[in-house]
């Protein structure tokens, strides 16, 4: 097995172009599991951890660019204010040791339907910056997930960064697992309110071959919410929203849960997170009026 260790992103892209079957390794929390158990014998590994530019994030005019190699621990510590949804999802990943190493780039690279950042990236309209020696392209999250563990990257491409707007409104993320730590999601859900645009982002994880938008739920809720004169939500609206979120899923029965349970749990998560997010919005409005 060759071990490629570029010091710059340009070098990494050149190496990946020469050897497209080289497997990138960032935090290693997915790749190493496969290597240690011999599930995978890649001809080469491409170590991304020496590339300083991948570990940086920047914010310009409310637009954030988060390098693919920024570990979860730093997203939690440094970006909780601007990207609350992503920070919430990051907090639920694995354990402190996993969060010190694991990265959003790795979550996207693995493209597991259960990856915790995916629903948040969808709900927040994230755009993935994919780069190759040929150039750079921007892939909306909604077009990035193609199938179970399949993403839209070409063999010579690497993920440079994820682009997100600083949250324009309340965001929530919730997941169901068998305990509070170190669990892969049985199902997960993210919601993002975009009050200025009177729009809602909502997405489900671990409940279909890919993470996906709950489009009908988004449209329904955007029409029901009284953005200009916010008032408490009707239970019927929460309930319908939950139903539509559950309908967006096409889950399977597996060791972690049955399809029926997943649908039920998603409806509960959707109602609950909507309640929290709207409460948050109401709170802000009252504070601003006071």
């Amino acid at each position: 097995m060759d071990f490629l260790r570029p010091n710059t992103f340009a070098e990494a892209l050149a190496l990946k172009a020469e050897q497209p079957d080289a497997v990138p390794i960032a935090g290693g929390t997915d790749v190493m599991v496969e290597l240690n158990f011999d599930h995978r014998r890649p001809p080469a590994l491409l170590d991304l951890t020496r590339i300083a530019e991948l570990r940086e994030w920047s914010a310009v005019d409310g637009k954030l660019r988060v390098g693919s190699g920024v570990p979860y621990a730093r997203i939690i510590e440094q970006l909780g204010g601007q990207l609350p949804g992503l920070a919430m999802a990051s907090r639920t990943v694995g354990s402190p040791q996993i969060r010190n190493r694991g990265t959003v780039g790795g979550n996207l690279g693995a493209a597991s339907p259960a990856g915790d950042t995916h629903p948040v990236l969808l709900a927040g309209d994230a755009v993935i910056e994919a780069a190759s020696a040929r150039g750079t392209r921007m892939i909306p999250a909604a077009e990035f997930y193609l199938g179970v563990k399949r993403n839209a990257l070409e063999p010579d491409e690497l993920i440079a960064a994820v682009h997100l707007n600083a949250a324009p409104g309340p965001e929530q993320f919730a997941k169901v697992g068998t305990r509070n730590a170190m669990v892969i999601a049985v199902c997960s859900f993210a919601i993002a309110l975009h009050p200025a645009e009177k729009r809602v982002g909502a997405a489900v994880g671990s409940a279909a071959p890919t993470p996906r938008h709950a489009t009908a739920a988004e449209e329904f809720l955007a029409g029901e919410l009284d953005w200009d004169a916010p008032k408490p939500l009707l239970d019927s609206v929460k309930r319908r929203f939950g139903e539509l979120v559950a309908e967006a899923a096409s889950p399977i029965d597996d060791v972690r849960g049955s399809a029926a349970y997943r649908k039920h749990a998603l409806a509960v998560l959707a109602r609950r997170t909507l309640g929290w997010a709207w409460q948050d919005h109401l709170g802000k409005e009252t504070r601003e009026c006071a």
Binding site: D47, T49, G94, Q97
Partner: protein, 168 residues
Amino acid sequence: MIEVVPSEGGVVPAAVEVGLVVNGEARRLVVEPRVTLLDALRERLGLTGAKKGCDHGECGACTVLVDDRRIYSCTTLAVMQEGRRVTTVEGLGTPESPHPVQAAFVEHDGMQCGMCTPGQVVSAVALIAEGHAGSEDEIREWMSGNLCRCAAYPGIVAAVRAAAGGAS
């Protein structure tokens, strides 16, 4: 024959020379790229404190500090740590002069068989430095990456709390 690797970026051949600072001491070793940091520590450097409980990031027995952050040494490669500072349980204290966290584990019965203990102790040192020892609940949450098959959790939590300065 061992090929020595140029330190600039590029392709690395079959065996690789790596320089690490382990428990304060500069060490050089030659390893195959697929050797984990855990195997390098245990089998090449004779530091058997970090344990191999699961070899895939689930149990925490292999926890070490790299540049003061706790990580699982089983889910990273030795070659990826070039130039980094690695601290294992051996680097924290000695039987004659234990680290305060080690002393607290002894005093509060923070172990039974001891298999998970080196990882627990290293993790606890990091947890305290991170400022996550504010309450028992917080300690439990932030120790969640270290399992104990003997379920010595009450003693572990008590030890961490005591080492962090008690009821803060």
